[in-house]
Amino acid sequence: MKNKSKFSSSIALLFRYHPEFGALAGLVLVFIIFCFTATRFLSIESIAGIVTVASELGIIAAGVTFLMITGEFDLSVGTTFGFSAMILAITAKAGIPLWIGFLLALSAAFFIGLVNGIITVKYKIPSFITTLGAMMFWRGILLAVTGGFAIRYWGTSSFLYGLNGHFLGELRTSAIWFFAIIFLLNVILVKTPYGNATYATGGNKEAARILGISVDKIKITNFIICAMLAGLAGCIQFARFHSVDPIRGTGMELEAIAAVVVGGTLMNGGYGNLIGTLFGVLLMGMVRSGLIMSGAPAYWYQAFIGIILVLAVIINTKLKGWAIK
């Protein structure tokens, strides 16, 4: 650090301890670009639209972040998202009170997460495989049980309103859920012993074990947290659409992982935070809306996200390497 100026070394420290910084810079850059290219990008409706889409993806991504910091993956979040939404839809249509359906939906997510966690920890196999299996298995069950048909439920209630209703004009309550969850998880991660144990487990699980941390328990718990947040996100989206089809949530697992990685969290675990994910998710939502409003066909979204993802990881890796020197 001796051969760096005071200014550049304080910038280096900023990057080293703030994984979210790169995503924030990207967010600002993309925002500025779209302000010029997209008409009406700066309107309330446009911003609210971005936040609404980002919130549903973001609640999933929050759980994925937590789990990725623990050093594990969950590819089944998209399926869990659809599965829970479907349970809420079916129970609602059957006339069962919504809150019971909601609890059942979350219980199902809890169960999927628990099974993912136990199989991964007990048989010591990569969670990539465990959750890839889970993704196919539960999706298959979902398709088989529903026969491939969508379920609609047109009832309205304050419960659904609480999950994802309008307020202050174009904004939706899902945004409150999203920001609250990001805040809560980040506090747990950064300010509590449990967060410390989570970072340690992802950073070096053998060392953590030797230091007396119950690595397996932490992993299973975080698999459950991740799955339950995916389930919650599914219910929240159902409250917006009032319908679910059995392929709902397909591909969301990869979108969530992309947002998390853009937010600076390391794939291998042990490093990252929720604020980065917040920026990552907003960045993706902004690209989606901004492209359409700039007049580009919707297909371009995927292509752009692909580029952003790879660029973000290259930049984050370079920055971290540079900061450590």
Binding site: K191, P193, N196, A197, E206, G212, G270, Y271
Partner: protein, 252 residues
């Protein structure tokens, strides 16, 4: 070895992995304020013995006494709670976490918030870690620095400082000087002597006989899972020990 007053006494410890007899009725003791050099060639059973001692493996057979009391250590946490601290070469610290967080990992001081949630006591964590490391003579640039930027010697120093701070009675060092520069090795050896002066016992596992010879009081030599012998420092020279490790036989 005359007085029956040991900090650690392990008798007839056996451990088998499949067809490999990793430990075969090994007796092992560590006295109070004693530095024991545990030496032997690769595959001699040093690591297995230490992992039994620290609760990572359960032995198939054998008894364990801590301060004269029979105990069974079934988890690393229990070993740690009893005052046995292990510093593994590559597993001492979490690279991506700060020095302060590493220092208290698994034993964080907390402040209760609203009587429910335990928050890390950041001020205490930083102050105590900085002070404790300073007392042992470890100077670091910043307590918030990530461990990945530290040298091998600095890492060992922090792990040893942590063990001393938490009141360890026995410090187990696994190859603490491997891959260290000469200067850094000497520093680590000084910490070992310092730990002994503070009343700790130390088990020093190594290939480098010259390093351990300068600080140890006694040597236990293993070979193919069996104990070749115990030697007090005044009985043998470093060359004698190397010879025993090389041939696997007691000197005649």
């Amino acid at each position: 070895m005359k007085k029956e007053n040991f900090l650690i006494k392990m008798t007839d410890i056996s451990k088998r992995f499949g067809t490999v007899q990793a430990l075969d009725k090994v007796n092992f003791t560590v006295g109070h304020k004693e530095v024991v050099g545990l030496v032997g060639d690769n595959g001699a059973g040093k690591s297995t013995l230490i992992k039994v001692l620290t609760g990572v493996y359960l032995p198939d057979q054998g008894e364990f006494y801590f301060e004269g009391k029979k105990e069974s250590i079934n988890s690393p946490k229990k070993a740690r709670d009893m005052g046995i601290e292990t510093v593994y070469q590559h597993l001492a610290l979490i690279d991506l976490m700060s020095i302060a967080r590493n220092f208290f990992l698994g034993r964080e001081p907390v402040k209760k918030y609203a009587k429910v949630i335990n928050f890390l006591d950041r001020k205490k964590i930083n102050d105590v870690a900085r002070q404790a490391l300073k007392e042992i003579g470890i100077t670091i640039r910043s307590i918030d620095e990530e461990v990945s930027v530290l040298s091998g010697g600095e890492r060992q120093a922090i792990a040893i400082g942590r063990a001393i701070y938490f009141g360890a009675k026995l410090l187990v060092l696994d190859e603490p000087t491997a891959a260290l520069s000469i200067k850094e090795s000497q520093k680590v050896l000084d910490y070992v002597t310092g730990a002994k002066e503070r009343g700790l016992s130390v088990i020093f596992i190594t290939h480098n006989i010259y390093h351990v010879y300068s600080v140890a009081d006694r040597f236990t030599i293993l070979e193919h899972g069996k104990k070749v012998g115990d030697f007090n420092k005044d009985e043998v020279s470093a060359e004698d020990i190397i010879e025993v490790v090389r041939t696997g036989k007691r000197p005649v």
